[in-house]
Symmetry: C2
Subunit: 648 residues, 2 copies
């Protein structure tokens, strides 16, 4: 079987490639990636966590990992998804979901250039799109996407972040229905979603969806410049198989890129062409003043059917099971990574428009005209490596394509389609990233290979190995390998931005006077404990090096004890932590000026220490307290104090 033999080819390349690499490295490379203590990296690199569900933040060229932003998965380290103030972020129409698979980080853009305001990332399994605020590096919004399953072709932004586009990977009955799986071809559909970013409120809103044939939609990119109004989506499994896809979805020589005129779709919605469909989905947002997350539950969505909307969507035939679809900085070329293709097909936006005008169609699918391949293709890159997946651009007329099976990056020239350089990578590269490489103005300088297999690249860590990236210098004619660096989770895609753009807006701490948390403690004098039936609210302050109150009595078995801890510090990098012994929850990690809340349900009488979990001062070990828990029927009165038991 052809498929299996490709797998084995890749294994052979691994061992061959490794030796070659070691020999090729010269000593001067060290200084290119070394960032001396006290100096800063030049770029931020944002990597998707893949099956970690989070977002990684790295520095380049050092490859050092600065932060994991909690997005779709619980994070015991910070209390994200455990604390009362963050739980709502992980609510979905399926209930509380502690995990997702996050694939593609995408920086917000203005005029086609990353503007450093936000970065978006998709949740693949429970279809969602998240927005991370790059002032605080915290997730502030998550929108669930109904009528989707496997939100993979997501979240790619239009030129001014008018929309974040997102298409389903798996087709399912739309709306959901209990139907035989063998009725796939009749009953299963895909959807393409357009999530608007309100330019004033900066809030997301699922504006509309387009129903599309029941294929698998893989990746996407919006146009730019002349193609500003359009967005492009790859599909595979146009065979519409529902079992053993490795064989049954690899039969057609060409699948499709869907080209969607979103400006026209917007007009159709405005003109009332969209139908309201019942669909429950969550819209969660973190109020950065209240330091608390909230959920809105939506009940319907606007849906467009291509049959009712002529000119809105076309299919571009594209060999073969294409993965990436990437638009060059000029907005003219649309490059597909056909993972089973022997060439890299490059479509021309201007030829596409002409072909549409001239109606150069090869039939249609469910009301979607299929354009003639020859009428839209600008060129084909020959000998692009085995398994081409994804392409980015350096802004100097060159494109860089990852080849999974042959484990290499191939550099080729836009316009001539000529391969000019290739470099082996270790091993099995998926996507790649050039800083600004999907924008109108790439920074170039580096390409980062996001590899799938690590094997013998680092000291072994048992059966489970890290995923790995490689940093490659692209300033010369020949690519130069600089560094292997491990990555968190499994980065499917990454984006990078010049550091100075983010540094100027970075928040150092939260201003205590702006904190509007409903259970904030303004100062130690406000620290108190209030009982309302079985609910006990502890208004607690934390400052080097004590909590107030630090002794609490009168708590009873069966109480719901809510600790609302306000970090009163007003300086950079002085977090405090909080936990009580016997808590069946995580800790709280509280940044300066912030209030965070956690629930404790004591089950056994006794004395329970609490303490600061973040080493905050020379007397951090002294930053502790006690809660006395009495039986449910006890008469021990509510008493609390700090320092002096005589004085509350």
């Amino acid at each position: 079987m052809i498929i299996l033999s490709l797998t084995f080819i890749s294994v052979g390349v691994f061992y061959f490639g490794c030796q070659q690499s070691k020999d090729a490295i010269s000593g001067d490379v060290a200084s290119q990636v070394y960032v001396a203590p006290g100096s800063y990296d030049e770029f931020y690199l944002f990597t998707s966590g893949g099956f970690s569900g989070q977002l990684g933040v790295y520095g380049l060229p050092s490859g050092r990992h600065f932060k994991t932003v909690s997005v779709f998965s619980q994070n015991p380290e910070t209390g994200y998804g455990y604390s009362e103030d963050t739980k709502a972020m992980l609510m979905t129409s399926f209930g509380f979901v502690p995990w997702d698979d996050a694939h593609h980080p995408e920086l917000s853009m203005t005029e086609g250039v990353p503007d450093g305001r936000f970065i978006f990332i998709n949740g693949n399994n429970t279809p969602r799109v998240a927005k991370i605020d790059l002032r605080t590096f915290e997730t502030t919004e998550i929108v669930e996407i109904p009528n989707s399953a496997g939100n993979h072709a997501s979240p790619f932004v239009t030129e001014n972040t008018e929309y974040i586009v997102a298409s389903t990977r798996f087709s399912v009955p739309v709306p959901q229905a209990d139907v035989p799986l063998t009725s796939y071809k009749e009953n299963f559909k895909g959807t393409i979603s357009f999530i608007a970013l309100d330019p004033k409120t900066e809030r997301l809103n699922l504006a509309f969806q387009i129903i599309v044939p029941g294929f698998n939609y893989d990746l996407a990119h919006a146009g730019k410049g002349p193609s500003h109004d359009w967005a492009f989506f790859t599909s595979y499994n146009t065979e519409q198989a529902n079992s053993l896809l490795e064989i049954n979805a690899s039969k057609n020589d060409k699948d499709f890129i869907a080209a969607v005129n979103w400006k026209l779709a917007e007009k159709y919605v405005k003109d009332g062409k969209a139908k309201k469909m019942n669909a429950e989905y969550y819209h969660n947002y973190y109020d950065e003043k209240k330091h608390f997350a909230f959920s809105d539950v939506k009940k319907e969505v606007l849906v467009l059917d291509p049959k009712d909307c002529p000119g809105m969507i076309y299919y571009l035939p594209t060999p073969k099971s294409p993965h990436g679809v990437d638009v060059d900085p000029s907005g003219e070329y649309i490059v597909a990574g056909g993972k089973l293709a022997t060439v890299i097909p490059v479509h021309s936006f201007s030829k596409m428009i002409k072909a549409i005008e001239e109606k150069k169609f090869d039939g249609e699918v469910d009301g979607i005209p299929v354009l003639q391949y020859d009428a839209v293709v600008a060129g084909e890159v020959q000998n692009p490596g085995l398994g081409p997946l994804h392409t980015e651009f350096d802004g100097n007329g060159y494109a860089y394509t990852s080849a999974f099976i042959s484990s290499e990056i191939v550099k080729w020239k836009l316009g001539t389609w000529e391969v000019v350089d290739r470099i082996p990578v270790y091993y099995s590269i998926g996507h790649l990233c050039i800083p600004g490489g999907d924008s109108k103005k790439p920074w170039g300088k580096y390409v980062i290979a996001l590899n799938k297999i690590t094997k013998d690249r680092y000291l072994p860590t048992g059966p489970e190995l890290t995923q790995s990236a490689q940093l490659i210098d692209i300033t010369g004619d020949k690519m130069k390998m600089l560094l292997d660096f491990p990555t968190v989770g499994e980065p499917h895609y990454a984006q990078a931005i010049a550091a100075d753009i983010l540094m100027k807006n970075s928040t150092k701490f939260y201003k205590i006077e702006e904190n509007q948390h409903p259970y904030k403690t303004n100062g130690e004098k406000e620290a108190r404990v209030e009982r309302k039936g079985n609910d006990v609210h502890v208004y607690m302050s934390a400052i080097r090096s004590h909590f107030a109150p630090d002794n609490i009595e009168g708590i009873k078995v069966g109480d719901n004890v809510y600790f609302h801890v306000t970090n009163l510090e007003q300086d950079w990098d002085i977090p405090h932590g909080f936990v009580v012994k016997g808590m069946t929850n995580s800790e709280l990690l509280i940044m300066p000026g912030q209030t965070k809340s956690i629930l404790w349900k004591p089950t056994k009488p006794g004395v329970y220490p609490f303490y600061c979990t973040d080493f905050c001062s020379a007397l951090h070990q002294e930053m502790q307290g006690y809660v006395r828990v009495s039986p449910a029927n006890s008469n021990v009165p509510l008493v609390y104090y700090t320092g002096n038991p005589e004085k509350k």
Copy 2:
């Protein structure tokens, strides 16, 4: 107040130090930390995750992060603490606890030298000790510690890993009791625990505990060589304050190091001097053949009272609120890091033995004789920096002490107590680590500073910043700063070991024929679905690039669907992942040869895709399937297939 002014001194040092560092770095340093692509690091570094609850694995000198070992906290990335096969690891007498605070990794030793078999780490909040197997880099055992609260002085091993010692940080009523917090001095006690490692089964067992006065016990180290039979524990809060400890526990000029003769304690236990105390605690272990975790619930513990056991324990007066207690490679010197002390006191083991023989006591506390300071002290290091915390040794006669407040490492000579070098670190160093630095044979070469404050060291990431380590060359007379590298969670302590010791035993994958998981699937032909009432067990196989079965019908709302996924691959670094849309759980990440199990409770009829979450081959995107869920009262029969719906 003196305490607050110390805090402000440290802030002043930050900014001064930064500029100095930048100027001091010379270009040739880059090559000292650069590990070229394809080459290996020289040391493994294991860092505690602190408030992440996990263990970090790094390479030195590169500072690259290779793995986070899941220990005490849920890990959505791997399914640890979510999957059926791992849930038992996080069971405690308080129920399922998804988080802990892990402070001190400690390598197993043979004849006082790290042997590379295991690494232990403490759970601080819900007192526990974990054992990580360094063949697989997985946690295989967790023992809960009763009569403890804040398991901080833990887990330090004796010279041949006969015992892992662990003492409580917070004192509490022993056994637990609902008593006024103001009755601290009467009712609160500490405990020191000895956990035996069975040399044959390699299983842990809480052998016995010693009841000690109600102080806070901070850190520990066992003796070696001449002091083989002894273990040492620092204490603070000998004032026995229960509120505002930053003031009330900082009054005494000296606190104590507890010296415990564990050989004698062992004998007292053997002689029947220990009392059985009722105490519920969990002993969890991961069966590496069954690939499944189990819990035993223990009901009693053996407890020794010093009053009944003369000669078993002594107190060494030690200035002031000491943090670390570190025994030099010869086993003669016991170094204390008195965080509020103006000197580093070094006790002499031989003087201690002599003082005991000569009964040079200064009274006693709860039956524990207090030795005279002058009778046990070997020397005092003058001018050791502000806030000395922790000391390690290079094996060449020098000791290195971290100074938190003055943010520096101070190098001094054993025997002469003379400070010979000092280097600023950024900022607020807690512990430090020299490879093998608490053993009889340190590798020396580097000292790693584990810093508490990061501030302006890296590109900013909003209010939440990474913790940071620094790598310093100690091969010359003067320490030389090499590298800043970020760390996961908050490393309180770290240990390092030469890489070749671990590499030779590292497991690459699990042998499928040794897999004894109760729901293992040996090959695709065994893949099947079995219903038992509302429980449905899916015996599923995963191999590049499909699941078997990949289509399942006949699942009903209200079912408990257990997916038992066996990864049939037998090659290094070919994991598969598994998740179903709508799962309110994490994913499964399944290593080659392993079976893992996860529970799904479908709540709504419809069609739910599942897919592989770990990019495993060129046709990974095709590795998917569907489950059809019907209403609870439906008659849809159980049907499953792979490829051909006609053939089960």
